[in-house]
Subunit: 405 residues, 2 copies
């Protein structure tokens, strides 16, 4: 008789955003006349920019002709894209990353979920709390997290690094040394950023202890301040300890187009000389068949002169929303964080409401959907996330409604 | 100090097609004047059909306008595609499969590689020998296969079902009952097909023993004979024991466009009532963010009247190649199999050459690239696979060259 992966059954409830979707759907059915504004899931609303649209049409035309048709892509990505990324995202910032250290994928969610596979089953992971649920959930599914305490909301075999207003949403080094450290900057969900000096300390810590950092930089395009690193490879020594995950979702609106990449320098290796690079290459070659050609061409166009200008103005549009949310909530008396180097605004719920109480309150009173902070981990309790990815009009209306209640 | 997944290190050598690519690249560098014809990897060469191209352009235009732009797709696929698949691939054949039992993905390789994740670590798997390497390799990476014997080419914890000319490439029921049985029909690599009556026996066997069948039907569009089932759900009782994996790669030329789906009926459940459907939904929701909207629209177009007619003629084109290969090699004295309900021709190597000897021989003498049968498992030794996916001109030239040596 077949048996299932029992570790899957340990996961409490369903995936955060599925739960939200169900709640909103139920509310919407009961209140068909209310106009709901969604500032919950971090999904973009602005269309793909003209340079990307042009590249897509052109690539589609190539697929229509046998002489230019493309079958299976190279497992690890087309050279035209890997070379462009290496130049534009790394070499131009003084980061020593080669094209063949870049693995093109269908997005940062897949990569951040799958990366744990190349580590041993007994790997001790450390995560910020609150945290993007995918890091923890995928380790649960792999049987790496021990047991779940439904009272505390904590897993017995996970090292948590609380990030709250008290420590400025900046985690301290854990007391117990982890094997694998997930860091996300600019941060989802808190919107916090990290300075280069602070990040250098994490790199030094990892190198000293033989830990690996999985650095999720999906939101780097939203950095507006100086001295906030766009890549962990701006820090010295990161080539021996850091994996970086990037996405086209938020900098170019690819949430529904699907493209991302992971960087694994060849210098991260075990005492026996096994490189994480070779293991990830093997995983890609065995379980993945490349991102679509047309989508990789679209990704390349993001780096063209037009693509850069157009995506920059799209990011400015969202960051203008962020500012409106931040300023509006602040004026209304909320304690507000983030929103300067990130498209996320993190706020303290008023009147000691729990995160889900505030979710229901906001949905009911303002018909605005946000994300409960507790959905990202126990230290997120009492906080709430709003995103800047709505349209400007909806963002203004949402904040005005919140201010009115 | 971080530790890696040691199971990855058990994999002997690199992925079959990567090895072939390296050999061909080396030969090509040494012999720049030779025109190499590739009938090795199963990659298509004909362009996407006009109906698909039209749908792609139209979907790209939608992505250019905020009012029609699509962000994150539903995790499990857009309803427009799931409904179409349920109707066209299943209901129209009398198969009882609902739209919400269809999980849209980026392709059959990912799905057939990832499906093992929802089963327990101690799951006993059975595979045909020879077999598509992904089934075994992904179980190796999950630590399920025991130790590798480099002399026999067998894993200690895998149940092999030899398929050779002696048994008509039709496996017998294994002596030891497996938990999970991988079947692929029409078969890659042997090109063999299965009748409905024979497949019914496997369904009955699985139901009797509490086994699950992973049925890879990626090549169903190539079936030309009556009484060869297009889906395992044509068999009675398959809803309680069978997962089916499908692909748009070979029926519509999507190898570089990436789209597939997996069907998991809700009736496959453990004694405790846990369904494989819920586990796979959880996996999709946690580790995957949907196939691109534009690609799902392209997939929908495959089922339009134009799409059906155009892809049918594309399949006829490849099957004409298959016939040319089959007839030509037969006339040249080779023992040849497959090619009638499948785009693969499986042949016995001449003069007791090993599969790799014949690979080198063919590359050197005819500058034709095929796939060594032994790359698919020990029972593939002494066999060789050619695919019908080349252009007609190249196929004719390749066969004429082979006949000449």
């Amino acid at each position: 008789m077949f048996r299932v992966n029992e570790d899957y059954l340990k996961l409490p409830g369903s995936y955060l955003f599925s739960t939200i979707a169900k709640k909103v759907s139920a509310f919407s059915t009961e209140n068909p006349d209310r106009k709901i504004i969604r500032l919950g899931i971090g999904d973009v609303t602005q269309p793909l920019c003209p340079a990307v649209i042009k590249a897509l049409h052109s690539a589609v035309d190539e697929m229509a002709d046998a002489s230019t048709f493309k079958g299976y892509a190279p497992d690890l990505g087309y050279d035209f894209l890997r070379n462009t990324i290496a130049q534009e995202d790394y070499k131009s910032r003084g980061c020593d990353i080669a094209a063949d250290e870049i693995f093109v994928s269908d997005g940062a969610k897949s990569d951040s979920g799958n990366i744990q596979e190349i580590f041993s089953k007994d790997t001790r992971i450390a995560v910020c709390d609150p945290v993007y649920p995918v890091y923890v959930d995928t380790n649960v599914m792999a049987g790496r997290t021990g047991t779940y305490d439904s009272t505390t909301g904590l897993w017995s075999n996970v090292i948590y690094m609380p990030c709250t207003a008290e420590n400025g949403f900046s985690p301290e080094f854990p007391k117990e040394v982890p094997d694998l450290i997930y860091l996300c900057y600019p941060n989802n969900p808190t919107g916090a950023s990290i300075t280069k000096d602070e990040l250098q300390k994490w790199v030094d810590y990892a190198n000293k202890n033989g830990s690996v950092i999985v650095y999720d930089a999906a939101y780097e395009a939203y950095i507006s301040e100086e001295n906030v690193p766009h890549s962990i490879y701006e820090c010295e020594g990161a080539r021996t300890c850091a994996i970086e995950i990037r996405s086209f979702s938020k900098n170019a609106g690819f949430t529904g187009t699907r493209l991302g990449f992971t960087v694994i320098p060849k210098d991260i290796k075990t005492a026996d000389g096994v490189t994480l690079h070779q293991l990830w290459a093997r995983r890609h070659g065995t379980k993945f068949n490349g991102a679509p050609y047309i989508v990789q061409k679209a990704g390349e166009a993001v780096y063209s002169a037009e693509g850069k200008a157009e995506t920059k103005s799209q990011i400015a549009y969202y960051m203008n929303n962020a500012k409106y949310i931040y300023d509006g909530l602040k004026a209304a008396g909320y304690s507000v964080y983030g929103g300067v180097n990130a498209p996320y605004i993190w706020l303290k719920t008023p009147n000691n409401m729990t995160s889900w109480e505030f979710f229901d309150f906001l949905l009911d009173k303002a018909n605005v959907v946000g994300t409960p902070g507790s959905g990202f981990g126990p230290s997120g309790e009492g906080y709430f996330r709003l995103t800047a990815f709505g349209s400007y009009e909806n963002t203004v209306e949402a904040i005005d409604r919140i201010k009115a209640i």
